[in-house]
Symmetry: C2
Subunit: 131 residues, 2 copies
DNA sequence: ATATTTGCAAAGCCTTTGCAGGGGA
DNA sequence: TCCCCTGCAAAGGCTTTGCAAATAT
């Protein structure tokens, strides 16, 4: 992965220490973490950090387009995704975790009256993957 | 619409007065109401009713299969739907309201590894309909 | 008599906000 | 200096829960 600090700057985000670490975590090892998981991780691996800062940072990074925010029908929490491409998700009910489905693997054809203008399509496939 | 009381009984729900009224409202005039809308409606049209009873009733009716519960990525509240068939939703961002898309108007083809078992697919199409 | 339903208030979960203090440009 | 960032605690939106009182079987 390229230099995180530089990425932040390129996206117009001031690279504070917290932002760098959180960005590195989400863009790297984390897999669809929630705000709470980010907080826990930060508290274990960095100095103590406040909940508000985590939420602020996640909002910053999302607005900057570095990560994406997803909320799902089945699950109350918001998750953050390093994948900013157009894609969908598979929710594994057994492990309570999410996987990306890239846009190519999902074909959707929606018939709508011509007056309907579509801005986005959210798809969540739920089930089990016995990997 | 057929007799509501009878429908409740057939679905194993004791037909209390609140349940009958709420079921009639959701199965009839209401359009994807939230718990709060049901509460407001009940307080205007019935005797006062508590929030807990509304939530309890909505849970009962949902579990009985008389209505369905939907939660969407874009919107925090849960909505209740008289349509219990397999279907998807269109979210009109301008009016902040939902419309049903019947399953026929949405074709989805999802390529998954064979070990994946799909239980359900949630789709929300967001945009504007200038009707 | 017994089980169910209801109302109320409190708590819970997740997220946002207000404000004061601290640190970097 | 000045502005932005951070932390803390409080509040906010929505939903659930605990418990006692009312109601139905």
């Amino acid at each position: 992965m390229q230099n995180i600090e530089q990425m932040l700057v390129e996206h117009g985000v001031r690279p504070t220490i917290h932002r760098i670490h959180i960005a590195r975590y989400i863009l790297g090892e984390a897999d669809h973490p929630t705000a709470d998981e980010v907080l826990d991780w930060a508290n274990q691996n960095l100095s103590k950090i406040s909940r508000a800062t985590v939420y602020n940072t996640l909002r910053e990074l999302t607005q900057a387009g570095l990560i994406r925010e997803f909320r799902f029908p089945q699950v109350s929490r918001t998750v953050y995704d390093k994948n900013t491409e157009n894609h969908f998700h598979f929710y594994d009910q057994a492990s309570d975790s999410f996987m990306d489905l890239n846009a190519d693997s999902v074909k959707v054809d929606i018939q709508l009256p011509p007056s309907f203008k579509v801005n986005c399509v959210d798809i969540l496939v739920s089930g089990n993957c016995s990997q």
